[in-house]
Structure formats: structure tokens, C-alpha cells
Symmetry: C2
Subunit: 192 residues, 2 copies
Amino acid sequence: RCMSRLLSAVESELQAGREKGDPTERELKVTLEDADLWRKFQHITNEMIVTKNGRRMFPVLKVSVSGLDPSSMYSFLLDFVPADTCRWKFVNGEGNLSACSGCSVGLKPGSGSCLFQIMLNSLHKYEPQLHIVCVGSRHRLVSNVSFKETQFIAVTAYQNEEITALKIKYNPFAKAFLDAKERICCITWLFW
Amino acid sequence: RCMSRLLSAVESELQAGREKGDPTERELKVTLEDADLWRKFQHITNEMIVTKNGRRMFPVLKVSVSGLDPSSMYSFLLDFVPADTCRWKFVNGEGNLSACSGCSVGLKPGSGSCLFQIMLNSLHKYEPQLHIVCVGSRHRLVSNVSFKETQFIAVTAYQNEEITALKIKYNPFAKAFLDAKERICCITWLFW
DNA sequence: ATCTTTCCCACCTAGGTGTGAACC
DNA sequence: ATGGTTCACACCTAGGTGGGAAAG
């Protein structure tokens, strides 16, 4: 079955805990950034384009972390957990995606932990998951969080035009298409 | 006196020593990359533009390091050591720089260790210096190297047009001016 | 036929060049 | 007048968008 790649990045902002540090990470807090934006996409079922050479995520997965020990070293690992066993299918012209029951494909579990060039199955739903590991003489898993808001269906082309519209509206790299839309509006208005 | 900034970067390639590592760094080797290119500039006295907001170095300071302990953490620090006490001055139209003796300006020592936005005195000569520090419960200075090939005079505008020509020839971001030169050659040739 | 993937493209963002006029 | 600095600018590099045709 088709396997494509999705470029992903974890951008994190570290906020040192209290001055003396907290070697136990008891008050660890991981917060999703741009949560409002993520929820806009989540509301209409988010999609992410995957390509052979890798594609950036938009919105970008960003978290801020507080409560770590400032004198320790940490690794941040990201993987994508299958959110269901369905192969999603585009039905009716209105652009809604619905789960196609009874055709569960043999899904591989998240391919371990890797920051870039992660293989995903197109038309399957994933939930990004973040691992925080304290690096030392022996590694210690500190946290293991994921956010429902960041779920998405991997696709090779957008299925829901509302998703396309949101991506164009908020991703500066799609500015060209935003301008095009505005020009069309303008022309329509002049014609009117 | 005028102080301007020079953006600098240390790009380094780490080559782990032998499999078992070398916690003593006894066989540490630091090699300057693009040494041939650096020597081309050195041969006619290199200049680097400094600006208020910072300017990249070209050539880029890159080193490859071998003989480190793969299980240790290292920091790479860069500073710029005054190479003499002269204020350099542009003399004769031929574009040569020569030292103006007897006007030594009070030079501050290298401003400690800082990777970006380093303040340099225009018209003074510097030699980049690299520090390698092993990060641990207490830091340990591992190495302290500099390369004569990378000496340069900080300037706010190029003084020697041969330097300008070399920068344009080898820096892809100055391609526009390379093309312009080629066009001029072409027009001259057509006219001829 | 239909669904899905791949490729090339125009059009952006983002930012690194030296130039030359203006400024001090 | 002279020497040095600053600024806006045209022109690049580098690479991220979705569209749409073509292919599978």
C-alpha cells in the first residue's frame, strides 16, 4: 500500500522551572501552542498532505514545556499513533470524510521515534505523540503526551475544500492562492 | 568609535573517534573546511562586512572535529581575537590596505564567548578562535584553536575590489552581480 | 469509470548579496 | 574636501504552497 512521508518538526520553548530546578519533573507541564488554530482544523477533520520527499505540517506542532530541570539534558521525540483502524474515504460531493467500516488495513504501529521523514499511510488517521526523555547515564522517560486537537488524516491531495480554504487562509506560504481568491472577489464585485 | 556586528556561525561536523570513544580527547583533530577558498581571500588580505543588524561571514567558518568522546556532550564557542593593534587604512587607488602605525586604538579583548551578534571594531583585524568545552558536572576546556587562514579586517564597505570580486565569484547569494559582470563581458564582446 | 498518486508549475515567503546615493 | 557609515534597493538563493494535468 502507498506509504508517503510527512515532514514534521517539534518546535518547543523551554521555560526553566523554579530557579533551583526540579530534578523530579513533578510539576512538568506541556502546552500545545496555537491550540485555537489547531481546533479550527480539528472541527472539520484535519488533513495533512504527505509526499514522497516529505511535506511540512501545517499548523506546525509546537509545544511549550515548563517544570524541567534546567541542569539536565532532554531529548524530544515525536511519533504518530494510528487514531483508528479505518481507511478513510471521500463520500458525497459535499466534501465530508467518513470512516469506511470493515476494510481495516493491516496497520503498522508508530514507527518508533524519529523526528523527520516519518512514513505514514495515506487515508489513515493519526495522532501526534510527544515523548520527553531525560538524557543521562541511563535514559529516563519523563513524559508522554498527545493532543486530540492535532489529529489528522494523511492524504495525497486534500479531500475537503474547507480544509484547503483554512490552509490557504493561515499558511503564509500559500499566500499566492489567498491573493487569487481576493482578486476573484474583487472582479466579482466590480462586475456586480 | 564605530562598533558593528558580524554574524558568524560555527558549522561543525563531528566524526566520532574510535568505536569505544576517547574520553581523554588525546587524538583530537580540528580541521578547517574550505581551506583553499579561505587561502584565496587570505592571500589578498580578507575583509568582512559588518553591519548594525549583523552580517554573515563569507567564506563560512566550518570545521570538522574528530577524536571526541561520542558519549560526552560538547559546546563550541567562537570569539574573535584582535590580530594586531592597528587601525587599517585604505591607501592609494590600487586598493591595498596597509597598517597605519602609531594610531593604536584602545582595543577591547575578545568579548568572551558568544555565537552570534559579536561586536567588532571596523578597520581592525581579527582572527577567529574556536573553543571546545566538554560539558559536565564541571566544564572542561578541551581545545582552543584558530586558523591564520581565517584572519580578516572588519569593514563597513569593501576596500579592495579584488576582495569584492572573490566574494561575488564564490558566494551564491551574490549571483546577481556575477551575472551582471558576465552580461558586461558579453556586451563588450558583441561590440568588439 | 472511479479513485488515488505523482509531477511540474506559478506564485509566494524569507532572507542573503553588493551597489550607490545620502549622510555624517 | 575626505573618509567612513548607513540605508533602500534590485537581484539573487532557497524552499514552502496548492492547482491541475497526467499517470497509475
